[in-house]
Symmetry: C2
DNA sequence: ATTTAGTACTTGACAATGCAAGGTAGTAAG
DNA sequence: CTTACTACCTTGCATTGTCAAGTACTAAAT
């Protein structure tokens, strides 16, 4: 897969996931990977950035399977960011798909 | 528009455009901008890279409206690159759209 | 008890892409 | 002869994702 396609979309995928239910980082890696391959070194810095930008709040929950889990929860600001990104993605991807179709028509 | 969505897709848009007909750099800027905003500082280095990777051949044509135009033409290798990218894009964008739909379902 | 495996998070050096800004140079019109 | 438009190219920068390594905690196997 072209790893460049990912840029920017990862943020959307992460916001969508956390919007479904609060999640912790390690869980997000496997959740997000269902859609686009991603590794820890990508997810954790992204979560940090989104938390700094006040899209997430975090809280710790102890686990019996290892160290405490840091859960991420969407803030109100995060929800509006999600809507904005989602709208942007839909517009963008359909205009690209439209262009592809037009080019195929002319062949 | 989220400029990050562009990453990687620009190459696809450029290949699609040149596949329709040979084009020169300056022309490509306005052609590609119909789909995604782009400027010269992005296009020229990209054209150079794609030429170095043997996806393009170039030839000069004199113009009565300014300096000579450097036209870009898709090579056989370029056409296969185009098909590859196009396939990749379609798969990628539909899996993202699918994920968005699933998330909306659960609301 | 100690090793192993799995969970969970962090950090720093790195690569790829796009942008803004600037430079060169030809043609045409005022 | 200056302005404007066409056309091309380069450089330095910011953003984002990747890779590799490291820390630390828990549970189960040896």
């Amino acid at each position: 897969m072209n790893s460049q396609f990912k840029k920017g979309v990862l943020e959307l995928i992460v916001l969508l996931s956390v919007n479904k239910r609060d999640m912790y980082g390690y869980e997000l890696v496997s959740e997000v990977t269902k859609v686009v391959d991603v590794n820890e070194g990508t997810i954790y810095p992204l979560l940090k950035r989104l938390t700094n930008e006040n899209y997430f709040e975090t809280y710790l929950v102890e686990s019996t399977e290892g160290p405490s889990r840091k859960y991420y929860k969407l803030t109100v600001l995060g929800k509006s960011r999600l809507e904005e990104l989602k709208k942007g993605w839909i517009e963008f991807s359909s205009s690209v798909s439209e262009f592809i179709k037009e080019c195929e028509k002319g062949e």
